[in-house]
Assembly symmetry: C2
Homo-oligomer: 352 residues x 2
């Protein structure tokens, strides 16, 4: 175990995951073989436990892994702000601290979302020019996956927040989806520019000032979310959270329903077996573990939130997201584009 | 053709449907055999065309059908308010007029939604005690279908609007779902009462004052929408519209995707054929035509909006909805419950 290399290292919160520290260690083991050009991994958690678990998988002497000790854990039941004050030596807080000090370029955690957002915001603050962070999961879809933000970091929004989300989401989609000019859509109740509430109308106007910075497609409606109209969907955190969870719920319900209908009689079961390849391919394509992490975009330091119930594949993919973001220098691109967007909006305001 | 019986009659806008007047006549033909205790049907549209179409299906002398002449049609491209002024003899406006005058108890239309909402609101006004109407489609779900409102009649909301929706939606769900005490959920970003924006927090507080009037289940999140937690989902028109359309889009996308995956090779195709019964049953259960119409709840007169592209089954089911609502005297129950809810909220406000 060596000292972490500055900036390229990734801090991984080894505690607070529902599946335990062993699952996180398994994820790191997988990451070492699966992710090209992976930087140093700093595992943050109980040192003795981590040493034991690493030894078990033959990684206790691996130069690519460092242990950073932390004795406390923020649980899912903890109240965010309270936990931040009481549990100074929590693994999550230590991991964020490693990003703040510059020792790590990014951190990954499966822990309490509220605490992660609160601690991330308080300790790291926002990127220059950005008012607040937003949660940006990648949503699987048959044709082209897409980035949805804000998925719930905030519960209301102003037009400027949505503009920042468009710029940050666009830069992020370039990295995570590998699309050169991601199409950005503003989620509304119709595709006509005259439709929507005040937030939508004003945001639409401001987004049209951002030509060159983003590839703005215009307002979209619910029908377009899964029809490969856009690569980035911008919405307020309330709507985004409802959409994310409703779609996840609907997908699960349909899967269970299809299964129960196929199991109803032997002929259907036989048919199901013959067409099993179709279901396997669909499952693979729409696997939520594929993008196991959602970044909190707009923080002055990269924080990746993984599901509390993540398995090692999902956690490994969250580490992959961190690695991609660092190697593409997302931060510099984002800061420059945000500055230009703010400049144009200020100019527009001065004109009026 | 006889004179329409007051109050029990249903006006059907025979024009403005994408599939033409013939499809509406087919729907009426089906309604006469499918719907028990169906009242008089008043077909509103071009008299000569309707007479010809009715003659073709042997219904031109049927006592249960009346023709009410209207020479103009509001198209999907028409601007609502403008169309209302210019096309005085539009079938949609004539049908609404029949409800206003009391000659019909309800009206059904596949026409321009914006025009229907505008004309419905201007001509019928709101139910006593209600500030504005909301669109209330019934959403198909594997276990228990549910009513979602507002699905887009308005693009923002105040707490009192959501309380009215809860009361109106609850009374409507009793009729359309046949559930005695419909469970009412408030769509939020978590099930904890402390979560959500100001609108949610205050609405939650007010809904708790409505015990006895509604069976309030509390806040729900997106995961719960399709998991049979509640029978009525209350939300603002922006979120509701996005949820409705996103789910419809996701379902269509998944259906097409599954089909394309099964068609990929002969073995899968054979499997698909064997398990076809499962897909047919699912399609039947989740068929959106089953509830072909969504009422505009809160108007002082029953207006049922059917999809512009409705086929005769969907239009027939919209007529069935109108018939159910009339036979259960939804209006009286709703007016009484709204008055009581308003009384409790006023009392609460006076106390503070």
């Amino acid at each position: 175990m060596s000292h972490a290399k500055p900036r390229q290292s990734i801090a991984v919160d080894a505690m607070g995951a529902e599946n335990g520290t062993a699952e996180v260690v398994r994820a790191v083991q997988l990451a070492l073989t699966e992710i090209p050009d992976l930087g140093q991994i700093v595992l943050v958690g109980k040192a003795r436990l981590l040493t034991t678990l690493l030894r078990k998988v033959g990684l206790d002497k691996d130069q690519r892994i460092t242990i950073f000790p932390a004795t406390e854990v923020i649980t899912m039941e903890d109240k965010p702000v309270e936990a931040m004050k009481r549990k100074k030596d929590a693994s999550m807080l230590r991991a964020i601290e490693l990003v703040r000090s510059g020792e790590c370029g990014a951190m990954v955690s499966c822990g309490n979302t509220g605490a992660l957002m609160a601690a991330g915001t308080v300790r790291l603050r926002q990127l220059p020019g950005v008012e607040r962070p937003s949660l940006a999961p990648t949503m699987p879809s048959p044709e082209q996956h897409f980035v949805l933000l804000d998925a719930g970091a905030n519960h209301s929004a102003k037009p400027i927040h949505l503009v920042h989300q468009a710029v940050l989401g666009s830069n992020y989609a370039r990295v995570i989806l590998g699309v050169k000019k991601p199409r950005v859509g503003l989620l509304s109740i119709g595709t006509e520019e005259s439709k929507g509430n005040e937030l939508i109308l004003e945001t639409n106007r401001l987004l049209k000032l951002c030509g060159g910075l983003i590839n703005y497609h215009g307002p979209i409606e619910g029908f377009d979310v899964f029809s490969n109209e856009v690569d980035v969907i911008v919405t307020d955190g309330f709507t985004g959270n409802v959409v994310l969870k409703t779609c996840e719920g609907l997908f699960k319900t349909l899967k269970a329903y299809l299964k129960s209908e196929i199991m109803k009689n032997p002929v259907r079961v036989a048919g199901g077996l013959l067409s099993k390849g179709a279901f396997t391919d669909i499952k693979k394509r729409l696997d939520p573990d594929r993008y196991g992490g959602a970044p909190l975009l707009g923080l002055n330091g990269m924080v990746i939130k993984a599901h509390g119930s993540s398995n090692h594949t999902a956690i490994m993919n969250a580490i992959r997201t961190a690695s991609l973001v660092l190697s593409h220098d997302l931060r510099t691109h984002s800061v420059n584009d945000i500055a230009e967007a703010n400049r144009r909006i200020a100019e527009d305001a001065a004109r009026e």
